[in-house]
Amino acid sequence: MSELIQVQNVSKSYWRDSFEIPVLNNLSLSVKQGEFMALMGPSGSGKTTLLNLIAGIDKPSSGKVFVSGTEISNLGESSLAKWRANNIGFIFQFYNLIPVLTAFENVELPLLLTKLSKEERKKHVENVLNIVGLGNHMQHYPKQLSGGQEQRVAIARAVVTDPVLLVADEPTGDLDRNSATEILTLLERLNKEFNKTIVMVTHDPHAAERASVVRHLEKGDLVGA
């Protein structure tokens, strides 16, 4: 399998007032095409920061990040926004659905940035909502759905543009055990059946068990590699 993601000597620091807070220290990592990687580690270890750098929603202080051969760490904001729209699917811990939009409309959102016709968009949205098992809930608003269902809508939104990479930040962190299991099964299916590369941040060892590769972070460094 070829490498989809290459993180090369990346460091990242944040500034709080005049204090520099290092989060990642000269970290290198690679993720292969079709891999399902779990990133584990205690709070503050830099898991989410690393995920954000891989997803192109944050930039490293130093080092390089390549995804599908594109160096995303030196793209401008506008190019990065287009790149994200075409290449990345996001799954958040708190789903982050737009409350005034139905499940259908939430999933349709990323497609509004494409040149697909209304009919084509409808076909895509119905298809992915059926895959995540919400074909009968398309016109429901987020508040009319359970947590697990909301997360499935969020997953549908993440995959509707058929991105090469799915990034998930604690996707089961806000769910009960049964819902969490459903979500993990769905992610596993997307990885195996649809060959999606997934990088998932989690605290949960049960969630990590579903991944094909597990990496641990501590204080900004990968450990046990």
């Binding site: 944050d58 926004a81 287009k82 729209a85 996001f90 737009i98 409350p99 005034v100």
Partner: protein
């Protein structure tokens, strides 16, 4: 799903807040419209003044009369085309709240120098022939349901006693700025009666209306007229009709200035109200905008979402406000003493200004939330706790 649908849904997210904001904009636009209408109507009397007419009045004050004998002297000044005169009569028609101008005029010449008062030759002839007749504006005829041949009785105050006038003419306004709320009758009729009742007050007119051939020579002609009566017991001051009217308006200039200022202060206040609404909305949606950015929505899209919502609220409020201004102005006119304003209508410029103000409010109110949303980094947006 269209982006406009999302804008609409966002605007209705807090229905009560949006409703109150729209209500506020609506009330502000109505207040702006009514105030601007009063101001523009006030000013339009100045705009309606003819460029080729001068007014000659007593130099000390408009309230002091001038001798009737000045008429021929003024007429002899080179450049003067025609001369007429008028005198403020006052009096009460039926009720003291029935306010309209009642003027004793030179029946022979008044319609020559006031061509914007349109009257048929037959009615004008009938008016000239009959000393105790009058001509009234079409608006007066309509307001009081007066027809030709009816008798209008005035209770005199400046000129005491009961005064009966037979309506022989109804003049129409040449355009909407022409005052059609005047009652004109024979100065000679009033003067003859004064010879009997108060001889000291005869042979006096209020002001002369001087028609000139070339408006560019108004200053020179004015000087020549005033020079004729220099060092007399009744010195004159001659000025263009516009300047003369401005003198009237100037007496109320403080009120007009205050009204002008108020109309813009109202717009400023409502701008802050909408800006506050938009800032709150954008703050509440910080995480959502981070999601939009994450999904690949650009600066252009986010600007469109926020600006669209702001404009939707402001134009909705402004539009309803403008629509309601018309019946409210009509009601305002009804509530005022009849004839207080010769004409009272919403100028197109007032509507344009109100709509422009609503759009401007929408744009300005969106500036800060757009700036804040665009400068917030995605990771900061996700960390935000509202």
């Amino acid at each position: 799903m269209k982006v406009f649908k999302l804008i609409f849904k966002n605007a209705l997210r807090h229905k009560l807040r949006t409703f109150l904001t729209i209500l506020g904009i609506m009330i502000a636009v109505i207040a702006f419209g009514v105030l601007r209408t009063v101001v523009t109507i006030w000013d339009s009397s100045v705009d309606a003044a003819s460029a080729n007419r001068l007014i000659t009045r007593q130099s000390v004050s408009f309230i002091f009369p001038l001798p009737y004998a000045y008429k021929e002297k003024i007429k002899s000044v080179p450049g003067v085309q025609d001369v007429s005169f008028a005198n403020w009569f006052g009096g009460v028609y039926k009720d003291k709240n029935n306010f309209f101008a009642r003027l004793a005029v030179d029946a022979e010449t008044i319609f020559d120098v006031m061509p914007e008062f349109l009257i048929t030759p037959e009615e004008l002839e009938a008016f000239k022939k009959e000393r105790n007749s009058c001509v009234i504006g079409a608006d007066i005829a309509k307001q009081y349901n007066i027809k030709l041949g009816d008798v209008m009785t005035l209770e005199g105050d400046i000129y005491p006693g009961r005064w009966d006038f037979i309506v022989r003419g109804i003049y129409r306004p040449q355009n909407k700025n022409t005052d059609d709320t005047q009652m004109l009758f024979h100065w000679q009729y009033v003067d003859e009666r004064m010879k009997i009742e108060s001889p000291a007050r005869t042979g006096l007119v209020g002001w002369y209306i001087v028609e000139i051939k070339d408006p560019n020579k108004s200053a020179a002609i004015s000087n020549q007229i005033d020079a004729l009566f220099k060092n007399s017991s009744a010195e004159t001051k001659t000025e263009t009709e516009k300047a003369f009217t401005q003198g009237f308006v100037a007496a109320s200039s403080a009120i007009i200035t205050a009204m002008n200022l108020m109309s813009f202060v109202i717009i400023g206040i409502i701008m802050l109200v909408l800006a506050n609404t938009m800032v709150m909305a954008a703050r509440e949606r910080t995480r959502e905008y981070a999601v939009f950015k994450t999904l690949g929505f650009s600066t252009f899209h986010l600007t469109g979402l926020i600006l669209g919502e702001s404009l939707l609220i402001s134009i909705l409020g402004g539009g309803i406000g403008i629509a309601l201004t018309y019946p409210i102005v009509a009601g305002f006119e009804q509530a005022m003493p009849k004839g207080f304003f010769p004409f009272f209508y919403i100028e197109p410029i007032t509507t344009i200004m109100a709509l422009s103000a609503a759009i401007l409010i929408g744009i300005i109110a969106a500036v800060f939330p757009i700036h804040r949303t665009l400068k917030t980094k995605i990771v900061e947006g996700f960390r935000f706790v509202g």
